[in-house]
Amino acid sequence: MSSLPPPDLRSRILDAIEREPVPSRAARSRRRALAVVIGFASLLTALAVVGPKMHARPAAYVAALVFAWLPIAALATWAGVTPGRSMLGRPVAWRVAVVTLTPVALMAAWAGVAMIWPAMLQDTSTIKRHFICDAATLGFSIGPLVAFTIVRRASDPVNPRLTGAAIGTAAATWAAVVLHLICGYTSGAHMLFGHVAPVVLLALIGSVLTARTVAIRTKTG
């Protein structure tokens, strides 16, 4: 049995691709850039609607937290969302590191900031407050999540679940950064259960929902 494709398959495939035009590279880049801009604009709009609040926190503390978590969000996005120089995305280890180390890095960065302002280690947060911040983080992350998913749509034939989890992690981290400008609770428990736990939760959600869009799948129908 010959393991070469039949000669007529070539012409069939060439006919098929002619019937399915693909947008130009410039058009696609514009669309992706627009998705990212809209995604982050929605995040900032949500912040503007809710309104930044300092509560009883020193401004320097809030600024330190934001600037400590901002590079983590940027790094998670770069390593977990952008494909790098391969059509198969960045190495698996990078995405695993994004998913597993980002929550750890967030807590470590918070702990570093809290050492400078030890008074912030105490607050009156309750489980209900944790859940409110969980919901807020998930809500704020929708814009970046959709944007990142559009950027990586139909691009991963190997590990879409892992890529979905990394996308979820990165999106939730951006939302968690913004949440510092709103939430006045600062204790370790609140930080863990209200601000970092949703990052883990969104990684799980991403590994299920986002993965379906990121995966390369057979077109049916």
Partner: protein, 227 residues
């Protein structure tokens, strides 16, 4: 020994696959495609770059560069020409759809194999079919052996290899097939399987050890039958 040198031409007889499979896997591996080594550009890489850059005619060259290996891989996996043709068409269409987001300088071959493998897995799941590797499809290349004993030996060997491969854990089998049968480097196979080079080496080595042990048994039993 170079991994590519150990690979077979796509029309090699199944018995030759078995014999070639005994080549040492533990030998130093080329790490083409890793960050520390610049991979040589293939015809497929050049054709895809031109296609992504707007040269529509380059798709034909891309097809010519990729299709023999991809089709051989899909045919070996499905044992069904119609399905293999359909999957090859879908793979090439996916590559076409990625034209506008192709990353300049990226390797095309592992990407194409990864797409083909993903579509194959989807196809298997959708059809709830079990890939049977023991249909005993004799390769015409075996007919060059004129002795009946050799024919029997080659046939038994081929069937045995397929049986052993079918019994291996999926991860080991996939690593072994991509390297030994499809001619991918370890680095390329690692990309296709979404794992590390070290993991692929280990899986392929374990598959090779299983195969060698089983074929060693067969060889000695056949030797014992000869006058």
């Amino acid at each position: 020994m170079n991994a590519r040198a150990m690979t077979l031409p796509s029309r090699a007889p199944a018995s030759a696959v078995a014999v070639t499979a005994l080549a040492p896997v533990a030998a130093p591996w080329p790490l083409r495609g890793t960050s520390s080594v610049v991979h040589p550009r293939t015809d497929a890489d050049f054709a895809m770059e031109r296609y992504a850059g707007g040269d529509t005619a380059a798709f034909g060259q891309l097809y010519d560069a990729l299709s023999p290996r991809l089709f051989g891989y899909l045919l070996r996996q499905t044992r069904d020409r119609a399905r293999a043709e359909d999957l090859l068409q879908q793979t090439m269409l996916q590559i076409h759809r990625a034209r506008d987001r192709f990353i300049a300088g990226a390797e095309v071959t592992p990407w194409a194999f990864a797409i083909a493998r993903r579509l194959l897995v989807d196809d298997i799941r959708r059809n709830r079919r079990v890939i049977l590797s023991d249909d005993g499809d004799p390769d015409p290349g075996v007919s060059s052996l004129d002795r009946a004993d050799d024919l029997v030996h080659a046939g038994e060997l081929a069937v045995r290899v397929q049986h052993i491969l079918a019994r291996l854990p999926h991860s080991q089998r996939a690593a072994f097939e991509l390297i030994k049968q499809e001619g991918l480097t370890v680095a390329e196979a690692a990309q296709v399987l979404g794992t590390t080079v070290a993991a692929v080496k280990l899986r392929a080595h374990r598959a090779y050890e299983s195969l060698r042990a089983a074929l060693g048994d067969l060889d000695s039993s056949l030797e014992g039958r000869k006058p």
